[in-house]
Subunit: 174 residues, 2 copies
């Protein structure tokens, strides 16, 4: 898993072939298949790992901020920062097919927890009469859009900070 993640961050997921991976861990290919059902499951494992890490990063960022507005801003920045610093892991979580279930009762705990980390901070700024879960989904979608479009070169990176401020200003009810 660690090697897959490392390889993906260095040369992109395209470079993470079973042969490359096997060579790096100094085993032959079939050994991989006695630990994972296939490449998809390797991606899924990296994704779960990343989800745990992201949840921790989000909580650390919000804990260090005082007041609802500062917390939400810190949350958004931490999210986008995580996506920018760990593009391969972010891809494994949300872009690639890791065979993971979302928004079901059988969603793996790390994923649920990452969503919970968002919810904890966002619930207090959802506004009256707005379901916190729904608000979190919307806020998350906006962050996800910013993260993916920016990294894919679809949005110029210069004004990233302005977009975050606008996002918090408009979405959060303070």
């Amino acid at each position: 898993m660690a090697t897959a993640r490392e390889l993906a961050e260095q040369h992109g997921w395209d470079a993470v072939t079973t042969r490359q991976l096997a060579e790096r861990i100094e085993y032959s290919q079939p050994v991989l298949y006695s630990h994972f059902r296939g490449k998809r499951e390797i991606i899924g494992a990296v994704a779960l790992d990343g989800a745990t890490e992201m949840a921790a990063a989000l909580r650390a960022a919000t804990a260090a901020a005082a007041g609802p507005r500062a917390r939400v801003t810190a949350l958004a920045r931490a999210y986008l920062d995580f996506a920018a610093r760990n593009p391969a892991v972010y891809d494994a979580m949300f872009q690639l097919d890791g065979g993971l279930a979302f928004a079901h009762e059988d969603t793996p705990p790390p994923l649920k927890d990452a969503f919970a980390a968002l919810l904890e901070t966002l619930a207090e700024v959802a506004g009256d009469g707005v379901h916190p879960g729904l608000f979190t989904e919307l806020f998350w979608a906006a962050l996800h859009g910013l993260a993916t479009l920016t990294r894919a070169g679809r949005l110029p990176p210069e004004y990233a900070e302005h977009r975050v401020e606008l996002l918090v200003d408009r979405l959060a009810v303070l």
Copy 2:
């Protein structure tokens, strides 16, 4: 191009192999390479085609609505509707690597025009002192996040409409 799009919509982009494609158009593989430099360019061509179509769909939706609020809501619905109805084309535009340039001066006209279609309607609700382009980028990112996360099964589809309403309520200044 039409065959590639058809095949992608029916069985996903994974099924769009040069062999499959060649067989469907009743030619051999190498013929594809005398029209396109590679598979990437085929995806790019489908993407450009889709961008033109999307721009038209967005303009048609907003033209039929009266008042800023109705226009923005119609725009958002039309965008998400397009993504839901043409998942393969949407993927070609924003998810896959079609070798297209974004946010540069050499961005292909259809892509610029699709962004312009968003800008036309969103500029009037950006709010005072907010750059219309920046606002459009943020709104677009939110829509993109909703579209991709919903289709990937990351967001439950039941409350899609509520999310759109919340998005318009919060982001647009009316």
